[in-house]
Symmetry: D2
Subunit: 243 residues, 4 copies
């Protein structure tokens, strides 16, 4: 399973506080955290040529993990379309935290997914497992507790998810659909809420476990590529008399 972890990778460079939490960038924190998961992991970042997501890289990627925050607009539409096409063709996509605002998530979902409530207030978050049968909950306790995180609250302007795995409780009074799945074409998508850049969320074992689960769950399905367009009948059609 070939995994590419994409990161905006600007906060970590520009902001000393973030660099302290993620000295090598969020992408490397996740890569290191998944070292024992058995994946073949590469990374890519916004400021590489083609954002590190060349045709070759994407063609060999089974699952793409995406973290972005403040520079969604700097992602070129051409690359977004390239990722979009790969998802439709079966590549898995894990959308993390503020990537709910990314062009690719928005394009795949069809709603202004950037819309939700938020604040940065060092709140406790508790992610409750709503669907303990789901493989994304593998190895997870009844809930994951994070001592401090950015808060997201409903209404989150997403389509009705295929499945809801986690719902978060926040100290400040909000709830949030924090782990939700979709499919588009042959590709599977998992959105997972936690991971603000100033908190050590991607060092948390349970959070890493969920990301690993999401990667496994969203692995490509080798079903036949659908055929579209004009098609001959498979059965004999009786001639009709039009009035």
């Amino acid at each position: 399973m070939k995994v590419t972890i994409w990161n905006e990778y600007r906060h970590e460079v520009e902001n000393a506080k973030v660099a302290q939490v993620y000295p090598n960038g969020i992408h490397h924190a996740i890569k290191d955290g998944l070292a024992d998961a058995g994946f073949d992991i590469a990374t890519a970042t916004l400021d590489e040529p083609e954002h590190g997501l060349t045709e070759e890289v994407l063609a060999q990627t089974d699952v793409l993990v995406w973290w972005g925050h403040k520079h969604h607009k700097d992602v070129q539409d051409e690359i977004v379309n390239r990722v979009y096409q790969r998802v439709l063709d079966g590549m898995g996509l894990i959308v993390l935290h503020s990537a709910h605002c990314s062009k690719i998530f928005n394009k795949l979902l069809g709603t202004p997914t950037c819309q939700l409530l938020w604040r940065e207030a060092d709140e406790k978050e508790r992610l409750w497992v709503i669907d303990p049968a789901h493989p994304i909950a593998e190895g997870i306790d009844r809930y994951i507790e994070l001592p401090m995180e950015e808060t997201y609250g409903e209404h989150f302007n997403i389509p009705a998810p295929d499945q809801i795995v986690f719902v978060s409780w926040f100290e400040g009074g909000e709830v949030f659909r924090s782990g939700v799945t979709y499919h588009r074409g042959r590709g599977k998508i998992f959105y997972f809420r936690p991971g603000h850049e100033t908190y050590p969320t991607y060092h948390n074992k349970q959070i890493l476990q969920v990301i690993a689960n999401g990667i496994r769950w969203s692995a490509p399905t080798r079903s036949a590529k659908p055929v579209y367009g004009n098609a001959k009948a498979l059965e004999e059609v009786k001639p009709k008399v039009k009035s």
Copy 2:
């Protein structure tokens, strides 16, 4: 309930065969067919200024019915965005037949909804009611039989619908999810398959009944408009000590 029926209205003008079936256009056939449904119905067409969908018209439209086929590209993006915003704000949208390829449906759903199998072969279609509890099935028999229609077949590249009301059987060997619902933001969407321009489908009483049901079902919900963006906590948040 204010309903606006939008029609491309070019086939009926350019093609004598179509004009014979729908002398005043598909929009007027549907309008006339819904005369007893108790709606306040207006029409709009592609070649009117702003495609007949000015800010004023849309602001007063509770449910928009959309039929288009060959000239989706001629619909200006500005108008598409205007309709999109209105759907998110609560306007119902009924998408008919080949409008599965329309810019608005594609934008709302996030998949290349134009992708499906099709042929024109005068086939019998039988639309089976899959969900008899759904209000869109109100007054409908176990199935609707159409003696001749254009054929659509799976795979239909749509997201998993919120609800599936009808699945079609086609003489030539295909099946198709023919009546499916979604919601996006506060707006409800109903896609209904039948209605190729060369067949008298929109004169069929049961088809008209389904469209009327869809209009009633997709009427705006007067819930509070969601608030998005930065928000204060509703509960006291305990001060934390960061390590």
Copy 3:
């Protein structure tokens, strides 16, 4: 629209504290609260003959509202089966609060719906609207706040709902899927969480509005009654040669 409100009606008789909140019983509090909703409302209680749910009563009931708590076992299986059959045939069912443990809800859903977390601790509950497009959210603000309620928490052992309208936040750290819909056969079901007998929840205008919305939403659909069993082919079947 004929509505029957069913109540266990024992707490109010046996417990002075409850009687103070609901002197005429929860059923009458809801009935009075819906006085302006335009329904034709009757009531029925556990200790009436046949629990007040005779064949005649149920045959004329469009929507049945059900509140029960400690005496689920006293509901006769014969009456449960009668209600079950009516739901399959189209009668709407509104299941309130601790009726998640009722025989009828359990039978319709197929899971041990009694299973959830709970405590009585006078906690604040905030019911967030997750689906502002849903007619059950009609007229409701972004959330409903209840100063004190019994707490329910996940995991709630229900099947994946057709739709989730509300998710609750509780002061004590839990979340709960508080407003969920299902359909079974031709009948629609709405489960709505709040309403412990010691709190004045059913005097709250927004809670009553949600119940009224639920009743309207779950009104019977007059689609054709499905036909089951052995059936002749609708199309000619070619003779086959078996090897």
Copy 4:
């Protein structure tokens, strides 16, 4: 992965025509057909003590495959309850063909799942892949064609599935939701339609592939067992003053 294939195993004994197709029984045909799938497969049948489903057997079963037809009533309720509990606890369940009428499927789903249209008329069936992203469609072409099968038609009285993977087209004019998934508690359920005892359906490679996919998909998730019942608050609850 430990798989137990349960079969009623009476048709094959009593009916020479069926014995010709499945000389060792349907359970062994499926077991043999999955020989290369990497499962540890056992079988069990109705006329064994406890139907071959002792506590020990079930405790060690990851996924149970169930085929039954005419003798559903002979399955003891105690064993049904045992299987039911194991599904809630995480065991996967594959329900084949006429097992839609089985006590266990009915109990888990909550609807009279026995209700559908049917006939035995040697009809062609074509199972269309509706969800090519689903792991149950792994390795499957756009559709599976069976030259002859028993016909099932809608309305099929099941709850809205979590996911629909296949929809069948039948020569005689019906459609049917032939591959559908559910979850109940921690257990995953896959219903797969084909497999009448007089046809060699379980010798078909693609059908066997789907069953193998279903088994892998429904493997238990090792999430924490949910806790139910009275629970202490996780957060401090402010004392309230009741009026």
